[in-house]
């Protein structure tokens, strides 16, 4: 499946790069705080059945206009602005981690404008007894520990093969990471809770909640909390997968999603 890229500009003025592939029902994927990886095999596979769109948020990849988005409402409206610009009608929404938080907010804001919703290891809730580790204080070499079931494989994926012992590679990672997490911090820092739980009652779309069983960043107890707040939700937990479940177990992940979306 070949992936193409296009640049769009939202009415607000953000310039957004969108990856696009496949054909069929439109499926919009919102990436997590780390952004898209150089390779995203689960999107390739999904594109065999759906028309997949993966916009990069401002400050991620080639997208710009981060100064235009400051709070949760800005992020959620930006998501709809992108969909408007792409000319899509009632797409499926799928969001991973921070992207799940944004997709859920979008669905609460305009519950009649989407088809189905998939939340993957989604941020957006907070349980006092199960605090989420402070990812903003992670050193470069610490991310893999919290993000993957298999730490060594995860590290290779995270850095795209870069060797963090090489100063030039470390510099590139450091600057990119600062940009991305600076943006993500607007809705995730210091606690990734912008009161989504208060608004989830508005969500009417059929919803699938997917979680990695070994997720140590946002542990699976958060899947149960989403289920409690979204009565119609189905929950699927995937074995041998951490927070980066779509990357770590792409086959199991894609089959859970396609079973749900139809």
């Amino acid at each position: 499946m070949s992936i193409s890229m296009r640049g769009i500009e939202t009415k607000r003025g953000a310039k957004v790069r969108v990856f696009e592939a496949g054909s069929g029902a439109p499926l919009v994927f919102m990436h997590g705080a780390g952004g898209l990886f150089p390779q995203n095999p689960f999107l390739d596979t999904l594109a065999e059945r759906y028309h997949v769109f993966a916009p990069e948020f401002p400050a991620y990849g080639e997208s710009t206009g981060e100064e235009l988005l400051e709070d949760m409402q800005d992020f959620a409206l930006h998501g709809w602005d992108v969909i408007t610009e792409l000319g899509l009608s009632k797409p499926h929404l799928m969001g991973h981690s921070m992207g799940g938080m944004i997709a859920a907010e979008m669905a609460c804001l305009a519950p009649n404008d989407l088809n189905k919703l998939v939340l993957v290891g989604s941020a957006g809730l907070w349980i006092n007894e199960q605090p989420i580790p402070d990812l903003f204080s992670f050193l470069p070499h610490e991310f893999a520990t919290y993000l993957f079931h298999d730490r060594a494989q995860g590290e290779a994926m995270l850095t795209g093969g870069l060797d963090l012992k090489d100063p030039a590679a470390l510099k590139e990672f450091y600057i990119g990471n600062s940009k991305r997490l600076s943006m993500a911090g607007k809705i995730l820092f210091p606690i990734p809770n912008r009161r989504l739980s208060k608004r989830l009652y508005r969500l009417s779309a059929p919803t699938l909640v997917v979680w990695g069983k070994s997720d140590t960043l946002i542990p699976p107890v958060y899947a149960d909390r989403f289920k409690a707040l979204i009565p119609q939700a189905e929950v699927v937990q995937i074995a041998e997968a951490g927070h980066m479940v779509p990357y770590e177990q792409p086959d199991a992940f894609v089959s859970a999603v396609t079973r749900f979306l139809g």
Partner: protein, 420 residues
Amino acid sequence: MKFTWFNLMPWPYLPDDFREKHHSVWVDIPNTLYDPQKGHFVYHQYMDQLEYAESLGFDGIGCNEHHQNGYGLMPSPNIIAAGLARRTSKAALAVIGNSLALYNPPIRVAEEFAMLDVISGGRLLAGFPVGTSMDTNFCYGQIPALTRDKYAEAHELVMRAWHEDEPFAFDGKYNQLRHVNLWPKPIQKPNPPIYIPGGGSIETWDFCLDNDYNYSYLSFTGYLRGKKLLDGYWDQVAKRGKDESPYRSSFAQTICVADTDAEAEKLYAEHVNYFYNRCLHIYGGFADAPGYRTIKTIQADVLNALSESAQNMFPSLSWKELVDGGYVIAGSPATVRERMEDLIKGLHTGHIFCLMHVGNMPDWKTRYSTKLFAEKVMPHLRDLWPEWKDDDRWWCHPMENRLQPEHGIEQARQDGRIPL
């Protein structure tokens, strides 16, 4: 030259194995290491030392703001300064300063600084730091990417509150106040001199120059890195067509004076070691939350950022390395004089924040070093900038007939200065 005696107020009872056993001196340091009953004596001793410095002729006495740490015990510097205002009458009170983005609403800073200026009879030097990332982001929860924007808005609000004579409405992004009407207002007009402590953000230079504020560089990483940074600042001063008054900048320096160089090492090495290896044992992940520094600053300074945040900020350093590298200026009065002169001229600075209590230094050593500096070093450094000797733009302008509360106020009552 102006000399301000500054006490960081570190916790002097961190255990010997602190560095090995504990994650960080800041943010998540176990607060069971703090003992309030010992703290009672620590605060009084530190404040006594500041008062002692005034009596020896230091131009200013200084304090600052930090949170949740064993490095500096002043979450509220204004409480310290209020104590000093009642026990001194000559020295400038350098509060360097209040982290503007942390006050809600920041009008609180305008009020408390005005109170300090009024109580002290116009002796306040008002500092507006952004605050370290540890303080501002990790302890006080400010969103890193919005911290500087929030700071800028708070700055505008405080300055307007000091300057305007009529109530006004302030419709900010972070602060909406329908009625801003400052009571009390500061003695110094239009406002006390403003000091901006910077750690190397390029944007801070322009902010200082736009407003003619003092750029205060506080560095524990030595004269050479300090010079690189201040050279950048002075280049910017020239580019902007501003005059080169050395009083546009100030510099914080750890200084230890003894009879001889050898005695300095013998007396002070263990305390300097305590400071660098315990008080600065900061977990790298807390040093710089993503978004705290702008991408422009990071790109300009990325290798330093990496060496600081990818590792511990300060690995073990020996006395010799600290002294030779200019992290610490230490030795006999003659040695210290010579090195201070190099520093002052090399950095082109008119105001030194003298860090003379270091780590867990006991009171008698602190006073010994301070007295030697005041008597045998300071007088020789006074007139290094003769062409700028009348430049008082960055110094306080106290009331002439102010009270001397440290001597009681009876005299003022008798000579009719008290209007009531």
